[in-house]
């Protein structure tokens, strides 16, 4: 019997039992819909991560880690004394407790010589006492001093310099209101940052405001308003020196930051830096991206697993439908066999029917998923602007995988009914009145 005739016969039978076929197809369709949507949301998330996180300039951080342990490794004795460790500090580095040896300017120089590295600077840990305008006496707290010379940031007034002078400073928008000065007027004003030196004396360093940074606030409104400033590397070095001169922390840094050239491969640079020194532990955005992608993948697969359960339930529907079909068509099968249809052809007839249900269901589900994608991405267009423009991105690859997967699942579901049909004795079938 020709394959096309077997398929025609199968389709005819599916059409004969319209309502039953429709119900089974719906069950598969709903499973396929959730599966395709889940994969689509996963794609959108991944797309967002890849375009937004990876596009910003890549800065890697380098620490000299002597010993690292994850929070899971509980120790029940204190560490043995070792003179080499005397200089080290224990910090929490990216989720694990690490014993870090301080880096020095020698390390900065060594890293600067690596191919693909644009700028290297220590991650200056500066604790400011206060900030005030030169022509005002009121001092305000300053929550953070950022060394931010490697990326653009949007300003409401002035500029965000790409080449920072020693006295350049960009302040957060909040300081305009704090100082009671118009944002535009703030640019060009002199500002003073007070820092405690080793003796506990306050040292004031003057800066000139070159820009007022726009701050987009996320999350719930905060009880205490905080403000930060941005300064260049050289200025940060100066402040750090004031703070640490004469202390044991002078010229010592926990972490060194290196900006990777835009055309260089971050992973290669990381590998090169790590090869310089056994203790160098390097962390970059590529690691963040791959970590985030792993998390998103994990969530996507977990959610897809739930759709998978729905699909397994739906596959029982196929088994049930096909078993009923075999039972109903006992005489037809008997006749076809008596007239010379081979067991193999009978088995194929029922397998094709099962596969058809799977493929039709998958197609319906996919079509619906596309509908949901268009609806969500259009209706929530404004809300999705900051999210890469799409909450769902269905890929052709996923669709093909889902349809093929469901065809396979349907085929497997059809195995038992098809075998039952194949094993039917034509005489017994024809004897039934």
């Amino acid at each position: 019997m020709k394959t096309i005739d077997i398929i025609k016969r199968g389709v005819k039978n599916l059409r004969r039992n319209k309502s039953r076929t429709l119900l089974t197809v719906s069950a598969i369709g709903i499973g396929a819909l959730t599966l395709v949507l889940t994969l689509g949301v996963g794609n959108a998330l991944q797309n967002y991560i890849n375009t937004n996180v990876q596009l910003s300039s890549s800065v890697v951080s380098v620490s000299k880690v002597i010993q690292s342990s994850s929070p899971d490794d509980q120790k029940d004795i204190v560490s043995e004394y070792s003179p080499t460790k005397i200089d080290s500090t224990v910090v929490q580095l990216r989720g694990s407790i690490s014993e870090v040896e301080p880096s020095t300017l020698d390390d900065v120089e060594a890293i600067a010589s690596v191919d693909g590295v644009e700028t290297v600077w220590p991650d200056y840990d500066i604790t400011p006492e206060y900030v005030r305008l030169s022509d005002q006496d009121t001092k305000y707290t300053l929550s953070v001093i950022n060394v931010y010379s490697y990326s653009e940031s949007s300003v409401v007034a002035g500029v965000f310099p790409s080449d920072w002078a020693l006295s350049d400073i960009v302040v957060d928008q909040i300081f305009a209101k704090t100082f009671g000065v118009n944002e535009l007027d703030l640019v060009g004003k002199e500002i003073v940052i007070g820092i405690k030196d080793a003796n506990g004396d306050i040292n004031e360093t003057p800066f000139t405001i070159v820009g007022v940074r726009e701050v987009v606030r996320f999350g719930p409104p905060q009880q205490t308003a905080q403000g930060g400033v941005f300064i260049g590397i050289d200025a940060a070095a100066k402040l750090h020196e004031i703070q640490t001169q004469g202390t044991e922390n002078e010229g010592k840094f926990t972490t060194i930051l290196a900006k990777v050239l835009d055309n260089a491969d971050e992973e290669t640079v990381i590998a090169t830096i790590e090869s310089l020194n056994d203790t160098y532990s390097v962390f970059g955005t590529s690691v963040i991206v791959s970590t985030l992608n792993t998390i998103v993948n994990f969530i996507t697969i977990a959610l897809a697993g739930f759709s998978g359960i729905a699909l397994i339930a739906a596959s029982f529907g196929i088994i049930n439908t096909q078993l009923m079909s075999v039972f109903e068509r006992t005489k037809e099968i008997g006749l076809l066999k008596a007239l010379g249809m081979s067991n193999k052809a009978v088995q194929r007839l029922f397998s094709y029917e099962a596969i058809s249900i799977g493929v039709i269901g998958a197609s319906v589900g996919t079509a619906l998923a596309y509908g949901v994608q268009v609806f969500v991405n259009t209706y929530f267009k404004d809300g999705l602007k900051d999210f890469g423009g799409a909450a769902i991105l269905i890929s052709i690859q996923d669709v093909v995988t889902v349809i093929l997967g469901l065809a396979l699942l349907a085929w497997l579901s059809g195995v038992i009914p098809a075998r039952k049909a194949q094993q039917l004795d034509p005489i017994a079938a024809l004897r039934e009145e």
């Binding site: 019997m1 005739d5 006749l335 010379g340 081979s342 067991n343 052809a345």
Partner: protein, 229 residues
């Protein structure tokens, strides 16, 4: 020519074993017609099924046109049945939701004949049973006599060497039954296909050139020139 050699068929095993056919040996000449006569449970349907390649005998041989039917592998046997044998059933076994034409085409569909050829042959078969005007009707719309004529068309569409009919007039009144009978005998004459009919109807059996009578799975009477043991 059909040669049946020492055919035995037993259902079940041990104490519950039931012997349906006992040492049946019979030869039917090429082109002949024959009635297998017997009461209910005499084994006549079983014999037909065994000869037609539907029911495997416990022992013995069926040789049709010098081919040993039960020595063939299953797939070959299916093809053999499709090509060599036409079936007429008392209960018709038509697919009611399909058209008359579609029903008649089934044997050719199974054989893998292209659609246009299939249709052409089926129309010719319907013409010979005088049902051409009903070819696009659903099988369920036909009367009993018309249904049996469709079944006859289906049995001859594949140009078989032997047509087996199991109580072909059992479900019909005497007038339509007579028409169907005449049609079967005409076919036997005109197409050279052998005709083997299973029946419990003495009157019908008498119209055949040859007949064998079965009782409890054994041949108790054999009549006709074309049939020898």
């Amino acid at each position: 020519m059909i040669e049946i050699k020492n055919l035995n068929k037993t259902y079940g095993k041990g104490n519950s074993a039931f012997t349906a056919l006992k040492s049946i040996t019979v030869t039917l000449e090429q082109g002949a017609n024959m009635a297998i006569l017997g009461k209910s449970g005499s084994g006549k349907s079983t014999l037909m099924h065994v000869i037609a390649g539907l029911d495997r005998p416990t022992s013995g041989e069926v040789i049709i046109n010098n081919v040993s039917v039960w020595a063939m592998p299953a797939k070959k046997l299916d093809a053999f049945r499709n090509k060599t044998i036409g079936f007429i059933f008392q209960a018709f076994f038509l697919q009611n939701e399909n058209t008359v034409l579609e029903n008649v085409m089934v044997p050719l569909e199974i054989r893998g004949v292209p659609f246009s050829k299939r249709r052409e042959t089926a129309i010719a078969a319907l013409k010979s049973v005088d049902l051409l005007d009903k070819m696009n009707n659903k099988a369920s719309d036909l009367s009993g006599g018309q249904k049996q004529r469709v079944v006859i068309a289906r049995s001859i569409v594949g140009d078989p060497d032997i047509i087996f009919a199991d109580e072909p007039t059992g479900n019909l009144d005497s007038v339509t039954g007579g028409i169907v009978e005449d049609m079967l005998f005409d076919l036997n004459k005109n197409t050279k296909a052998m005709l083997i009919v299973v029946t419990h109807d003495d009157e019908l059996a008498k119209r055949f050139d040859n007949r064998i009578v079965l009782k409890d799975g054994e041949i108790i009477e054999m009549v006709g020139k074309g049939v020898t043991s």
